[in-house]
């Protein structure tokens, strides 16, 4: 069954989606660079915090890739990435407030990403909203 053509769905990679992918790419770059430098030079000081930065970088990279990937598979991957992100930022944000001693060094997601203007918290929400508008499955 074909859906009615009266309401054309916006393309996932253009318009606001282009802005979203751009910001994700920027965060991938920032988190990856930060994690790389920290893992190389200060890993022994707070291994868990730095590993979390690296994990965040991986997820941002995965989000950038899957949001740009056309087709239902890209859509599914992008949704999984956004859900993992929102769970991650809420969990790490809460733990960093409840047990700051375990986070001697800030990660991208500490305090819900306040060091990055709370953008890490906003990004997955915006991504999920955009994925809803461009639903492909």
């Amino acid at each position: 069954m074909n859906e009615p053509v009266s309401s054309p769905r916006p393309s996932r990679t253009s318009g606001p989606g282009r802005v979203l992918i751009g910001v994700y790419a920027l965060f991938f770059l920032a988190a990856a660079a930060r994690a790389g430098v920290q893992l190389a030079t200060q890993f022994h000081e707070a291994p868990v915090a730095y590993l979390l930065s690296a994990v965040a970088a991986l997820i941002y990279g995965f989000s950038t890739f899957s949001l740009s990937k056309k087709g239902p598979l890209g859509w599914r991957m992008a949704r999984i990435a956004a859900i993992v992100e929102i769970v991650g930022v809420l969990t790490i944000g809460t733990v960093s407030i409840l047990a700051p001693a375990d986070f001697p060094r800030a990660t991208v997601w500490s305090y819900y990403g306040i060091g990055y203007g709370l953008i890490p918290l906003a990004l997955p929400i915006l991504a999920l909203m955009w994925l809803r508008r461009t639903r492909e499955i």
């Binding site: 318009g15 282009r18 802005v19 751009g22 790419a25 770059l29 920032a30 430098v37 190389a40």
Partner: protein, 119 residues
């Protein structure tokens, strides 16, 4: 860090953000002005990169040189990457991409100043 270089990057980044935002509001796609501002911005970052390399090879120490050069190299490509990505989209949203990249450059300029001053 040379103050005039930091303020130049900061100012040009904010200018790029303003130009992009005005175009976004006017429903225009990125144009010539964005290219010129982005080009000058990249040039200033390149000058800063050379200055940092010269200072670092001398007796004076800079805080966290690895991070500093990481920032500078990334900043060298952000304006061009944003212009390329933004201009692929022939709509107002391309201008918003450019605007956000300008804001990011301004933030990076501030962080760069802090890293330079770290001892």
């Amino acid at each position: 860090m040379q103050d005039w270089l930091k303020w130049s990057i900061l100012g040009l980044g904010l200018l790029q953000a303003l130009v992009g935002y005005v175009q976004f509001r006017r429903k225009q796609s990125p144009g010539r002005t964005d290219l010129v501002v982005g080009g000058v911005l990249t040039l200033v970052v390149a000058v800063q990169l050379v200055v940092a390399a010269v200072v670092l090879s001398g007796p004076k120490s800079i805080g966290e040189p690895v991070t500093l050069f990481g920032y500078l190299v990334a900043m060298l490509f952000v304006p061009a990457a944003a212009l390329w990505w933004g201009r692929l989209d022939e709509s107002r949203w391309g201008s918003l991409v450019v605007a956000i990249s300008g804001l990011a450059m301004a933030v990076l300029a501030v962080r760069l100043g802090q890293i330079w001053a770290t001892r």
